[in-house]
C-alpha cells in the first residue's frame, strides 16, 4: 500500500439523465482491484446519485444505486459529499443510501488538491 496513489473520482452528474454516473461507478469498481487509495467526491447534481429510494421500473432502466452499498466490500470507504450542493437540493445526510462525510466546498477543494490522480465524471 505504500506506493498506492491517491485517486479521486469527482461525480457531478445526476443518475439516469446521462450515462456518467454509471460509468464512473464501473470505473471505481475496476480501479478498486488495484489496491489504490480511492476517494469518491459528490458535487453539484452528483449528490443525487446517492439518493435513497430510487425506483426505476417506470423508466425501464437498471437501478444501480444499491451498488454504492457494495463499495465497502471493495474497500472503497471514502465518500465525500459537498455540503453546499446537498443544501441547494433540499437533501440531508439521512437521504443517502450510504454513510458519507459531508465537506464544505473549501474543504473539498483542499482534498482535491491532495490527490495524485483526479478523474472527473
Amino acid at each position: 500500500m505504500s506506493d498506492a496513489k491517491k485517486f479521486m473520482f469527482v461525480n457531478r452528474k445526476a443518475p439516469y439523465g446521462t450515462i456518467y454516473a454509471l460509468e464512473s461507478l464501473e470505473v471505481v469498481l475496476i480501479t478498486a482491484a488495484f489496491d489504490q487509495d480511492v476517494s469518491l467526491a459528490f458535487l453539484d447534481d452528483g449528490v443525487y446519485q446517492l439518493k435513497k429510494g430510487q425506483q426505476t421500473k417506470g423508466i425501464e432502466t437498471k437501478n444501480f444505486s444499491p451498488a454504492y452499498r457494495a463499495l465497502e466490500d471493495y474497500d472503497v470507504e471514502k465518500l465525500y459529499v459537498e455540503k453546499e450542493a446537498m443544501d441547494a437540493r433540499g437533501l440531508t445526510e439521512e437521504d443517502f443510501i450510504v454513510d458519507v462525510t459531508v465537506l464544505s466546498r473549501a474543504e473539498m477543494g483542499k482534498l482535491m488538491d491532495e490527490q495524485d490522480v483526479v478523474l472527473s465524471f
Partner: protein
C-alpha cells in the same frame, strides 16, 4: 404551447430561459428536469413564481426513478406516460428545449 424540459435546473440554464422567454402555457418536466419540482431544491421558488403564468407538470416515472416520488412540491400536476401523450395531443404546438 407545451414546453418540454429535460435538464436539471442546477446544471443547465434551460429552465431559466424557458421561464423568461415563453409567454405561458404548459411546462412538462421530464428526465433530470424533474429535480426542479422537488421540495427544497434551489429552483423551487422560481417554479412557484411561474405557477400562475404556466401550468407545470412532472413526469412521475422519472421522479420515482430518482428516489424523489414523495418530495414533489405543491401546486404541480403529476403525469404518467399516458398524461404525457395527452398533453402533447392537446397542445397546439410543442417545444422540446435542449
Amino acid at each position: 404551447m407545451l414546453h418540454i424540459i429535460n435538464q436539471s435546473p442546477l446544471n443547465s440554464s434551460t429552465l431559466d430561459t424557458c421561464l423568461n422567454t415563453a409567454s405561458g402555457g404548459d411546462i412538462l418536466l421530464i428526465e433530470d428536469a424533474v429535480y426542479a419540482a422537488t421540495k427544497g431544491n434551489a429552483a423551487e421558488a422560481k417554479l412557484r413564481a411561474a405557477n400562475g403564468k404556466f401550468k407545470v407538470h412532472v413526469l412521475m416515472p422519472d421522479l420515482e426513478a430518482r428516489g424523489l416520488g414523495d418530495r414533489m412540491m405543491d401546486g404541480i400536476s403529476a403525469v404518467d406516460y399516458g398524461g404525457f401523450v395527452e398533453l402533447v395531443a392537446n397542445s397546439k404546438n410543442c417545444q422540446s428545449w435542449l
